[in-house]
Structure formats: structure tokens, C-alpha cells
């Protein structure tokens, strides 16, 4: 079993829809949870970073963490064609000497149709 599971999609929705992306994990030591957005042939861009259970909102994006269920989500409101990308969840346990070993999900490929 992989430490982090993420549905690879692809996921296609109309412009303006609410998008829900999810990951599950098995390692209860994970404390930090991130969502990255990756456009084709580019490096990942950090979207959201959370530490505790609950919700964190940033503009049209909301990250949700449920440690008891080992489940994290990213919601995108009022989705735009520019949101079309691959979304990667990532997580890590406590850092060692400040370094964090991120474990990534496979990534979900999202397309927003105008």
C-alpha cells in the first residue's frame, strides 16, 4: 500500500464549478500537508500549506485536513480555465535538521472547460 493515495483522474469540469480534490494517507506521523499545482512541463508551485486539522482558506482555494480519517482535500471555487493543471498533494512528518522529506501523491490532472 502506498503511503499517499491520490486519484490520478483525469477530472474535467465546466468553468465556474466547484472542484474537490482528495488524498488519503496511511502514516499517522505526517504532520504537514501541502497542495502543489503543476502546469505541463513546469516545476510544482506551492498552493496551500497546513499543519493542523481543519480548514484553511486562500482566495478561491480551501484546504481541509482530517487527521482522524487520514484524509485531506483541496476545494477550488469558481474554477477558471487557468486552473487547468495537475494538482499534487504532499505531506511530511517532523523535519530532521530542518529538512522535510515530502511524500507525494500521484497527482490529479484537472481540466476546466470554458
Amino acid at each position: 500500500q502506498k503511503e499517499v493515495e491520490q486519484d490520478p483522474g483525469p477530472l474535467s469540469v465546466p468553468e465556474g464549478a466547484i472542484v474537490s480534490l482528495n488524498c488519503t494517507y496511511s502514516n499517522s506521523a505526517f504532520q504537514y500537508f501541502m497542495w502543489y499545482r503543476q502546469y505541463s512541463r513546469k516545476g510544482p508551485e506551492l498552493l496551500m500549506y497546513t499543519y493542523s486539522s481543519g480548514n484553511k482558506e486562500d482566495g478561491r482555494f480551501t484546504a481541509q485536513v482530517d487527521k482522524s480519517s487520514k484524509y485531506i482535500s483541496l476545494f477550488i471555487r469558481d474554477s477558471q480555465p487557468s486552473d487547468s493543471a495537475t494538482y499534487l498533494c504532499a505531506m511530511s512528518a517532523w523535519g530532521i535538521q530542518g529538512a522535510q522529506k515530502l511524500v507525494f501523491g500521484q497527482g490529479t490532472r484537472l481540466t476546466i472547460n470554458p
Binding site: R41, K42, P44, G95, I96, Q97, A99, Q100, Q106
Partner: protein, 114 residues
């Protein structure tokens, strides 16, 4: 502001040839540095990380090695490339003082081994 550079952007190499990929970070001191590989349609896999000059930790036994000759320079090498070394190689950095710090990725190098 901080900037991370990787070169070359694209590389095509024959099996058995050597490899050297370079990553440099500007605008910060004593960063933690990371090398990841992303196979086609897959998530990112951590290969190496470094918390200081000359300090390298390997995560996955493989045909690759890493070095950190200067504070903000990280090099990924191989003496003899294998077909399975093909992929998208990403360098990342994080602040070196906290285990909570986010990781920021470079633009990546796309390596094709023929």
C-alpha cells in the same frame, strides 16, 4: 526574493553516458536542498536532500549520486546512465531553520536516456 535555477532545461543522453545536473539558489543562505524525480504521469520521488555543504542524505538506492560543493549549489550526477533514469528532475529548497518550512521547486530538467 529567492530564486532557484536548474540547468540544462532539457537533455537527451545515450545509455552508459555520464550525467551532471546543476541547481543553484539565490537570495537565501544555508538552505536545505532536495533532488526529486518525476516519472511520466507519476508523483515526485525524493532522491537526495542536504542540510549543509558536503552533507548528503540518500533516500533511494540507485544509479545516481549528489554533491553540494557550495552553500547554494546542488549537483546530481551519474557515471553511467540507464534507460530507467529518464524522467523530470526537480530541485527544491527550504529554509534551513525550521522543520515546518515549505519547499519551493525549480523549473526542472527533462532527461531522456536513449
Amino acid at each position: 526574493s529567492q530564486t532557484i535555477h536548474q540547468w540544462p532545461a532539457t537533455l537527451v543522453q545515450p545509455v552508459g553516458s555520464p550525467l551532471s545536473l546543476e541547481c543553484t539558489v539565490e537570495g537565501t543562505s544555508n538552505p536545505n536542498l532536495y533532488w526529486y524525480r518525476q516519472a511520466a504521469g507519476r508523483g515526485l520521488q525524493l532522491l537526495f536532500y542536504s542540510v549543509g555543504i558536503g552533507q548528503i542524505s540518500s533516500e533511494v538506492p540507485q544509479n545516481l549520486s549528489a554533491s553540494r560543493p557550495q552553500d547554494r549549489q546542488f549537483i546530481l550526477s551519474s557515471k553511467k546512465l540507464l534507460l530507467s533514469d529518464s524522467g523530470f528532475y526537480l530541485c527544491a529548497w527550504s529554509y534551513g531553520t525550521s522543520g515546518r518550512s515549505q519547499q519551493f521547486f525549480g523549473p526542472g530538467t527533462r532527461l531522456t536516456v536513449l
